[in-house]
């Protein structure tokens, strides 16, 4: 009971945070993907898990020359390690989160010990932190009651294990009617969280502005961009902030108008 209360409080506070804050991110991407992002949550999650997996592998390769140890198995990656779960279920994200956490600790310790060049290490530590945090957010969503039909049904659970790649491949070729039986039941907010995580993926965020309803405005600037700012990026980020605030203002005005109508109707008769 206490756990449920705590869970409810956590859910309410995260919902309120989401809906009382605006976030504008400016991202530099290495290349434009020609393929469209999947629309279903399961495949979106699989896409996301793939991006995190690849990032851990590439970062592991990058730091292997400085940090590689002799007890590693030949094809074992320094940060990703051996893949126990190669799908995108609860356990897969748990594994990604743990590996990112360990890699982050290793990088921090090496930074303190001056073992590796300091060029990009802060940005890489932040990236690992992002993988860890988002993976934990995804796990929190997946474990919620009623979200995963496979988790709640022993028959489906026996047939499908979304922590294995094969199950995802089987799911991918199902007709939409069949797939609906195994698809995650997410509310709109949860879907937005996953979609946004997939959109940002492991790309470099150069500017991030968070505007709170209490009037707080926080802008984070990546070190690389702060060292060599580009006026164009600042201007377009500013434009995006303007549009976002304008939309928010419109929504508030709509609600104020609606509230005025209701109160006008319900106010005591003189």
């Amino acid at each position: 009971m206490l756990f449920n209360k705590q869970k409810l409080e956590e859910q309410i506070s995260s919902t309120l945070y989401d809906l009382t804050h605006l976030e504008i991110n400016t991202i530099i991407k290495d290349e434009m993907s020609a393929s469209k992002a999947p629309s279903g949550p399961r495949l979106l999650l699989h896409n996301l898990a793939g991006k995190y997996d690849q990032k851990l592998v590439s970062m592991g390769d990058k730091y292997r020359q400085y940090l590689g140890t002799s007890n590693q198995v030949n094809d074992e990656n320094l940060f990703r390690g051996i893949r126990v779960n190669d799908g995108s279920g609860y356990e897969s994200f748990s594994e990604l989160s743990d590996r990112a956490k360990d890699a982050g600790l290793l990088l921090k310790a090496s930074k303190d010990g001056n073992l590796i060049p300091e060029d990009q290490i802060d940005a890489d530590i932040m990236m690992l932190k992002r993988i860890e945090t988002i993976s934990n957010d995804v796990r929190r969503i997946l474990i919620m009651d009623g979200v995963d039909p496979v988790k709640d049904d022993p028959v489906k659970k026996a047939a499908f294990n979304f922590d294995e790649k094969e199950s995802i491949e089987k799911f991918r070729i199902m007709t939409s009617r069949e797939a609906d039986n195994y698809e995650l039941n997410l509310d709109l907010r949860q879907l937005l969280v996953i979609k946004k995580a997939n959109d940002i993926g492991t790309e470099k965020v150069v500017l991030q502005t968070v505007i709170g309803m209490d009037g707080d405005v926080t802008t984070r600037i990546s070190k690389a961009f702060a060292d060599q700012p580009v006026t164009f990026i600042n201007s377009i980020h500013q434009d995006a902030i303007g549009i976002s605030v304008e939309f928010w203002k419109t929504l508030i005005n709509v609600v104020v108008k609606l509230g005025t109508h209701i109160i006008g109707l319900l106010s005591p008769k003189g």
Partner: protein, 179 residues
């Protein structure tokens, strides 16, 4: 007005198909890709047209040397702004319709009071009755996005249900077709 409804239709149709709204522009060296969702969050991507060695400095140099980018920025921002305006039209229209309904009900329930007000005989109780309005104007901005978001939620849920039904019907036709 007709144009605004067309914008709204386009924005919602895009929202249904991709789960968000998006505007893309192409400069000499880079693409600009802006994506937004119904809570007002925006992701702005700057992507080199050709895959280059992923060095931040090279990408920044590509942006600096792109002569068409300023013009493209204005175009893409304006297009994106129009789409967001389109999105806000639906709740605005809903409130407008609800407002008319409320006004009719209010007039019906308070007809006597309205007559008194017009005759100039109103006192403390009438002024006190305005207090809820004042309270509302303080509280609603704080809850605005939450309520505004929830105002859109049932509409989007309905649209998503329609989309799912459409997909089921379309898929059945494909399965039943010969060959």
């Amino acid at each position: 007005m007709k144009n605004r409804y067309l914008q709204a239709f386009q924005a919602y149709s895009e929202l249904i198909h991709s789960g968000g709204i998006q505007s893309i522009a192409e400069g000499e060296n880079v693409f600009l890709d802006i994506r937004g969702n119904i809570t007002g969050d925006i992701l702005l991507f700057i992507v080199p047209k050709k895959k280059i060695a992923a060095d931040d400095k090279d990408i920044m140099e590509l942006i600096r040397s792109d002569k068409t980018l300023e013009h493209e920025r204005r175009v893409v921002i304006e297009s994106f702004r129009q789409k967001f305006k389109g999105l806000s039209l639906l709740p605005e229209s809903l409130v407008w319709v609800l407002g008319i309904c409320f006004s009719i009900l209010y007039t019906y329930w308070n007809f006597d009071n309205i007559l008194t007000l017009f005759s100039g005989k109103w006192g403390v109780s009438e002024i006190l009755s305005l207090l809820p309005l004042l309270l509302l104007s303080v509280i609603t901005p704080l809850l605005g996005k939450y309520v505004g978001f929830n105002l859109l939620k049932p509409i989007l849920a309905f649209i998503s249900l329609m989309k799912r039904l459409f997909r089921l019907i379309r898929n059945r036709k494909v399965e039943e077709s010969p060959g």
